[in-house]
Subunit: 495 residues, 2 copies
Amino acid sequence: MFESAEIGRSIDKATFEAEEPALREALLEAQYELKQQARFPVIVLINGVEGAGKGETVKLLNEWMDPRLIQVSTFDIQTDEELARPPAWRYWRQLPPKGRMGVFFGNWYSQMLQGRVHGKFKDAVLDQAIDGAERLERMLCDEGALIFKFWFHLSKQHMKARLEALKDDPLHSWRISPLDWQQSKTYDKFVRYGERVLRRTSRDYAPWYVVEGVDHYYRSLTVGRILLEGLQAALASPQRTQLQPHAAPLVSSLDNRGLLASLDMTQALSKDDYKEQLATEQARLSGLMRDKRMRKHALIAAFEGNDAAGKGGAIRRVTGALDPRQYRIVPVAAPTEEERAQPYLWRFWRHIPARGKFTIFDRSWYGRVLVERVEGFCSQADWLRAYGEINDFEEQLTNAGVILVKFWLAIDQQTQLERFKEREQIPFKRFKITEEDWRNRDKWDDYGDAVGDMVDRTSTEIAPWTLIEANDKRFARVKVLRTINEAIEAAFARD
Amino acid sequence: MFESAEIGRSIDKATFEAEEPALREALLEAQYELKQQARFPVIVLINGVEGAGKGETVKLLNEWMDPRLIQVSTFDIQTDEELARPPAWRYWRQLPPKGRMGVFFGNWYSQMLQGRVHGKFKDAVLDQAIDGAERLERMLCDEGALIFKFWFHLSKQHMKARLEALKDDPLHSWRISPLDWQQSKTYDKFVRYGERVLRRTSRDYAPWYVVEGVDHYYRSLTVGRILLEGLQAALASPQRTQLQPHAAPLVSSLDNRGLLASLDMTQALSKDDYKEQLATEQARLSGLMRDKRMRKHALIAAFEGNDAAGKGGAIRRVTGALDPRQYRIVPVAAPTEEERAQPYLWRFWRHIPARGKFTIFDRSWYGRVLVERVEGFCSQADWLRAYGEINDFEEQLTNAGVILVKFWLAIDQQTQLERFKEREQIPFKRFKITEEDWRNRDKWDDYGDAVGDMVDRTSTEIAPWTLIEANDKRFARVKVLRTINEAIEAAFARD
């Protein structure tokens, strides 16, 4: 969930300064239009890691926009007035009216996260708080509110570097708050519970936006753009009640540096290394699948990837190690008539392996947010709600002991072209290349955005995505096998 | 929540036999239309108290309709197959396809209720299960499913009478299952947790229908009618995705015997009794409000009722006992401009009393499901979702220590007419009677239905409705005061 906010996204000063004036003007204009229409309020929730630029961003928004129409509320320690009433009262009294924007700094999410991180309660009570937040937000959106939820993020490494840099600098060490020092100790917990909260409360009508906070230019431009696009879409929409989904959450390519672009595609294995490592990993998998601890678990591997990235070959290397009674491969193509008569996830639920078994999905439930999204096979509302449904589905699987590994096999455009051409040359491979493959290739960037969003919204601690650099098939196959083995061993270690 | 399913609703045999053939025919027709359109599946959940006719009703549906298009699933003890997979798998594999109807007998609700009643877990885990059920149902409805949730109910008294009657009858004692005996012991818990589940999972797109199970004719006709109306509305609606609300849940007047009609309106107090009891209750209230245990609580009284039912007079008798610094009266009329710029409940949140204080709402947040519903001031979707929002609001209040009492002051039509005429005669009361009052009077039955639905959906253990027989003003005033006093004492006793 935070992967693409840990790759050190940045924008250079010149680009920022070139873009800023137009963005400011458009934001101001949207703000006045909001006031004019007075049809709905805007609520901006600010959360995330300390030191990731939350305060600076709110300050900047006030500079960029008309501060008379923005009301910033900080919810810190409860006042006497607030303590004498139900907890939600403090939020209700600060709600912005229609036509205005309210920035909630320290809000219902900060409270529940602090409580959980400091061990004041367990997951079940956290989930009750999450549920309460969801009810509140659903009601607000049903009443027309437009809600933006921002999570400002820093990798642990970046956070530590920042603290180190500041601490020895007499001019700036005051910038480190006690909260910062505290968080450097609780970072892992904070991020883990943060992920649980984000996973369960990201809804199509009130999604989370994760923003990497290292670079001030990147961070500011990203937040400004998300606000602007969301505002403009809502202002243009004739109706604003009944849980309107946000506009597509697409700002990932702002620094031309998506998650996929951050992969090192030159990684490769020599033939000899490959032979040796493949044999080792296959033997390891075979042993693990026969281990008696496997009786408590089932294994699911989902394979997605670019066309011609080598999914089939990788799957064959996985199954090569196994007894056919242990596994099943489910190729996912267009749904059958029977499947079309059921909810979307039904076709996957029917193939869930029993304990001790292994199911390999050759393409998966992610089709909804990949091909169906890009090709328009389902409505925007459908694929936007799919992220939440998928996270919920995968949580049910892992709660029941399923070990779930998800692969995106990535190749670059040049490699794909070469493989397509090669396939056309070889008679027995010709069936593998169709007109459709060439058409998909034209949508390379759309697929890239869809993959970025997919990873941002569905790579979770309980079911992380593994991106496989697959320009070199040998490297890819070994990495796939090794990832599966490591996931099984990690599950055994947790038992 | 179960009040109107404990008044012994029944229909005579002749009425039933007169209605049955047309209902059967219409149900069959709807069923074939459903198959023809094949646009959505229908899922019927059967829950409730043992012995309230769950099994008989399912049997009857199979007789009435074409059983080839109905698939009845019982979820009892999990099979080996099911135990080896995530808990929801058993439900997914039994989902009816589009065009068909699935009856789920013993479902996710039965499991969570059994677990809670038998102390396998506490409320926080129950709430997690509730949340899971809600996610599942929202997803199903987003995918187009039409869900009916029936709760078959018997009052404790009726349940006991039934067991007694059967036990000595050699021909029928076999009808008593071990579950029945068990439930006669756990009835109170079962109903208490059942209410929590119903309150939190009744949504406009998948509402609960509570059906009193004593009389087989009433029960069967009620279920048949609800199914028919819901089916017909869904079949006629062009679109069936994105959480369509159910048609108005209006079948309460089936036996011409709503909750209001079951009140004994002849109750009265003599002048002397009134004087004495009024003084007693006022003194009691005054003492309770000054009690130091009150520092942990706030008190809210919401007054609703027919026009001219005597709300104002009753409120004056309540405040008569108190120091003006202790209480505040909030008269609720049309919302101000400022209030219209906020979510519906905002105007009530702003008046929530601090601990130790008392707020009296002269009309309340129930306006949404009363006057706004009847007069069409808000959309059907808006008032349908209001029940859930109100329950959520009131749960927050009571969780924070607020003692909440809600009154419906009921008078009959004749009494209202007399009071209207009297008001027109007396100069200083003339301002109290307007054209609008006469217009409201024409909608007497609509208001009656709205009150019935309101009580069914929002009278909860934590915030029950009290219906006040107000033909006699003296009786009404004393009952109001006594109810408030008893609520405060009950809260103190729970501390």
